[in-house]
């Protein structure tokens, strides 16, 4: 890694100005389209339905996209201001430059924003074991827990349903689900119960194996579990499984606290688990086709995707959430996604989405892992 960290603020501001201009232009196009439709010599129920649909479905999306471009531009200006502030030896920057760009936000606002970005709030504090329900072994369901009772066979790993808990580590858990579908024996080989009742778990750092020891005392009550009750939602019935131990191994490895496993890319999860390089793609660089995904799955490659963090709220998909790609039908171009929340959660366990969903920017990142013969 080179020594440069940060950004060229002139480039950030230039990109922001372009985004802002395009946002304004997009709004103008929306208004012009609306006016053109209204002016058209067209009467009757078809016209009424079309206008209603345009006003209800199309125009709001155009306006929202315009707002998002404007918001993105202002975020870039703020990042540039923050960067200039951080790079300034005396803590001063050209306030007039940013005051103009940020329209009405005073220099004080900019400074406060930058300071806010650095100051942590109580919400930002790392999650503690109390936030996660305490220790599993101290809970009623964990009383008398015997590590030897955890079924770590390939058969169990390949058939168990994941139930994510109170950690936002879907990127890792979805990677585990995908790997379990591809090669459960690999995961079984990478967890060993030791004589002292702890487990050794093999993760990978830059492709190199790292052995991480996990103690039953470290497992949190509201962590990842085997979803045992189908469409029920009773966490107390959910057993400790390979995912519970793997999750704690990731916490111990990435450290220093539970927050270290919250949020990362689909690609990162697959690489941490399999040790093999994964292909990451996003909406900027282009997403894989249905045929690409289908071919990858046929080779046994694990695949995970992340949904748009700022998409409008949908009934069946969570935002900024990483799902396992279970299957792809190249003929119907439909993709079946699996939610690490498990069955019985407030969102469906399995979601079938058309492939054009990818192209509609609802999936912002895709991780395609290596086939199992390249793992480890």
């Amino acid at each position: 890694m080179g020594g440069f960290l940060g950004a060229d603020t002139d480039q950030l501001i230039g990109a922001g100005e372009t985004m802002e201009q395009r946002g304004v232009r997009l709004e103008e196009i929306g208004e012009a389209l609306s006016a053109a439709i209204a002016r058209a010599s067209w009467t009757g129920p078809d016209r009424d339905r079309f206008c209603e649909s345009f006003e209800a479905s199309v125009l709001p999306l155009i306006r929202e996209a315009s707002v998002r471009l404007g918001t993105g531009a202002r975020a870039l200006y703020r990042h540039a201001a923050q960067q200039d502030l951080a790079s300034s030896a005396d803590g001063s920057i050209d306030s007039a430059r940013y005051a103009e760009l940020l329209e009405g936000e005073s220099w004080s606002d900019i400074i406060n924003w930058a300071q806010d970005a650095w100051e942590k709030t109580p919400f930002d504090d790392p999650m503690t074991i109390d936030d996660l329900g305490g220790r599993y072994v101290d809970s009623p369901e964990g009383a008398g827990f015997d590590p030897a009772d955890v079924d770590l066979s390939a058969e169990a790993i390949g058939s168990q349903v994941m139930r994510q808990g109170t950690l936002g580590d879907c990127w890792f858990l979805a990677g585990l689900m995908a790997a379990a579908q591809s090669d459960p024996e690999f995961l079984a080989r990478n967890i060993t119960l030791r004589e002292d009742g702890t487990w050794d778990v093999t993760l990978y750092e830059d492709g190199e194996p790292v052995t991480v020891t996990v103690s039953p005392d470290e497992l949190v009550r509201d962590g990842a579990r085997v979803d045992n009750d189908g469409s029920g939602n009773f966490w107390d019935d959910d057993e400790i499984g390979y995912m519970s131990i793997y999750e704690q191994a990731a916490i111990n490895h990435l450290g220093p606290d539970y927050e270290s496993v919250i949020a990362d890319t689909p690609q990162a999860g697959l690489e941490l688990i399999t040790g093999a390089g994964a292909n990451g793609s996003d909406i900027l660089g282009g997403q894989p086709s249905a045929e690409d995904l289908h071919r990858a799955l046929e080779t046994g490659a694990p695949i995970t995707v992340m949904t748009d963090p700022i998409m409008p709220f949908r009934g069946d998909l969570a935002s900024a959430h990483v799902y396992q790609v279970q299957s792809v039908d190249p003929e119907t171009e439909e993709v079946v996604l699996v939610n690490p929340w498990g069955d019985g959660a407030g969102k469906p366990h399995l979601v079938t989405v058309p492939m054009d969903f990818f192209y509609g920017n609802n999936i912002v990142m895709t991780g395609v892992g290596a086939p199992p013969e390249d793992w480890g």
Binding site: F123, M127, G133, T166, G168, D222, I262, S319, H321
Partner: protein, 106 residues
């Protein structure tokens, strides 16, 4: 209408919960997941999508803003703050659960 009181004489103590975006937590009688946290379309306020599963009341998805209140079988869940997606800061919601006075609803 059932009531809640943070300083209620029957000792109902509110519990606070930090719920990260994409995670779920057991809060009172319910399991609540945060499936979205973002700046709303108005560009000014933050809102969040919560998925509530309550054994007695079933499943529902609600969109909340700071100050909103959700009723679950065991009490009320108050939305103390919404933290919109803004990496690298954590996103999600701050919630408080206050048990119904006199115990859970029948």
């Amino acid at each position: 209408m059932r009531t809640v009181s943070i300083d209620g004489p029957d000792g109902a103590t509110p519990t606070r919960h930090r719920l990260r975006l994409t995670a779920r937590a057991r809060i009172g009688s319910a399991t609540i997941g945060c499936s979205g946290a973002r700046i709303a379309e108005d560009g000014a306020t933050a809102h969040a999508a919560l998925d509530v599963v309550d054994p007695e009341l079933g499943r529902r998805s609600v969109i909340v803003r700071e100050g909103d209140r959700i009723e679950i079988a065991s009490g009320a869940v108050l939305v103390l703050a919404v933290h919109p997606w803004d990496p690298p800061r954590p996103a999600g919601v701050d919630l408080a659960h206050v048990a119904w006075e006199g115990g859970p609803a029948a």
